[in-house]
C-alpha cells in the first residue's frame, strides 16, 4: 500500500492540456510489462513535486513524465507507454 499516490484522473486536466485530447479514457499498453489498461489506471506521483510521474498500475515502471516549464510549456516523456491515437 502506498499512501502517496493518486489515480491518473487527478492529472486528467494536465494530460488534456499537454496531449490536446482527453487521455484518461484512452487505451494504452505499458512498454515495460505489456499491461493493457486505460490511462486513467496509471498511478500519479509527485503531482506537487518537480514534475508529474505516471507509473503503470501493474509493474510500477514509469510510463509518462511531465515537467512544466516556467513559460507554461511542458517537457513530455511518454516513452514508457504505447498510446492509441483515435
Amino acid at each position: 500500500m502506498d499512501e502517496h499516490t493518486l489515480d491518473a484522473n487527478a492529472v486528467a486536466g494536465t494530460l488534456h492540456e499537454v496531449f490536446g485530447v482527453e487521455l484518461t479514457g484512452q487505451e494504452s499498453e505499458c512498454a515495460h510489462c505489456g499491461n493493457h489498461a486505460q490511462v486513467g489506471t496509471f498511478r500519479v506521483y509527485d503531482m506537487h513535486g518537480p514534475g508529474v510521474v505516471l507509473r503503470c498500475s501493474t509493474c510500477a515502471q514509469i510510463v509518462i513524465r511531465l515537467v512544466r516549464r516556467p513559460d507554461g510549456s511542458y517537457l513530455v516523456d511518454a516513452s514508457g507507454v504505447y498510446l492509441k491515437a483515435t
Partner: protein
C-alpha cells in the same frame, strides 16, 4: 487547448451539507456539459497574480444548462478549501476548466449492475452517477456502500434516503465508523473485505464498480474486490490524496 479553456464561474448558491462539507452551485459561461464522474479544475488568482489550482468532482447530474455543483470538503490548514468555505459568497467569480476525465465515468448506457463504494467526500462523483441514473430512469441495479464517520457527516443523507425510497433498484448501505445513532443496525466499522463481499452479494459479480475515497480505502477496496473475483478492468478507482486542500 481545444475543449479545455479556462472559463469564468459565478457562484449562484452555497449550501452546507455537513459541518465540513459545502456545495457550490456555479454558473459557468460556455459550459459544454459533463458526464457523471468527471471533475473540473478550478483556479483562484490573488491580487498580486499568485494562483492556486485544485480539482473537484462535479456532484450534479448532466443537463444543468450551464449550472454545475461542486461539493467541497474543508481541509483544515488547506489553502483553497478554507477559502471556498469561509470567504466565498454568492456572486464571487473564479476560473474553471472542464469537464475533465474520461475514465471514472458512467454514462448510463449499460444495464449491468453498479456497485459504488464511497469514503467521505469520495461520494461526490458517485452522487453524480446516482443522480444521473435516477434522472434517466436507468434499469441498472445500483448499490452504494458509503462510509461516514458519524450520522452528522453523511453527505446528501436526505436525498439519498428519498432516492432509495423510490424503489427503482437503488440501495444505499451506510457504515458509520466513529459514532452510530441509537438502535443503529447498520455497519459500524471501516469498509473491509467482508463488507465488500456482503454488498457484492447484492449486486452480483457482473457489477461495474466505482470506488472513490481516501487512498487507503481505495487500495483496500480495489484489492479485495479483485480477489473476490471481479476483473480489474471493471473496478475503477479515484483516490483522494494530499492535494494541499
Amino acid at each position: 487547448m481545444a475543449g479545455l479553456a479556462w472559463e469564468i464561474a459565478t457562484v449562484a448558491a452555497l449550501n452546507d451539507e455537513t459541518p465540513h462539507i459545502r456545495t457550490l452551485s456555479l454558473n459557468v459561461a460556455g459550459w459544454s456539459g459533463h458526464r457523471p464522474g468527471q471533475h473540473v479544475d478550478i483556479r483562484l488568482t490573488a491580487e498580486d497574480g499568485y494562483q492556486a489550482q485544485r480539482s473537484y468532482s462535479v456532484a450534479s447530474a448532466p443537463g444543468g444548462d450551464g449550472r454545475i455543483e461542486l461539493t467541497v470538503e474543508r481541509v483544515a490548514g488547506g489553502e483553497v478549501s478554507p477559502f471556498l468555505h469561509d470567504e466565498l459568497i454568492v456572486g464571487d467569480r473564479f476560473e474553471v476548466r472542464g469537464p475533465i476525465g474520461g475514465y471514472f465515468v458512467w454514462d448510463g448506457g449499460s444495464p449491468d449492475p453498479l456497485l459504488l463504494v464511497a469514503g467521505g467526500s469520495g461520494v461526490v462523483p458517485l452522487m453524480a452517477i446516482v443522480r444521473h441514473r435516477a434522472a434517466i430512469g436507468s434499469a441498472a441495479p445500483c448499490t452504494l456502500l458509503f462510509s461516514s464517520r458519524t450520522p452528522a457527516d453523511i453527505i446528501y443523507a436526505s436525498e439519498l434516503e428519498s432516492l432509495a425510497a423510490r424503489g427503482d433498484g437503488l440501495r444505499v448501505v451506510h457504515t458509520l465508523t466513529r459514532e452510530q445513532p441509537e438502535g443503529w443496525a447498520g455497519y459500524s466499522r471501516r469498509i473491509d473485505a467482508q463488507m465488500l463481499e456482503d454488498v457484492l452479494g447484492l449486486t452480483g459479480k457482473s457489477a461495474s464498480v466505482f470506488v472513490c475515497g481516501p487512498t487507503p480505502l481505495v487500495e483496500l477496496a480495489a484489492t479485495s474486490l479483485v480477489s473476490l473475483g471481479l476483473p480489474p478492468s471493471r473496478v475503477r478507482t479515484e483516490r483522494f490524496g494530499p492535494s494541499g486542500g
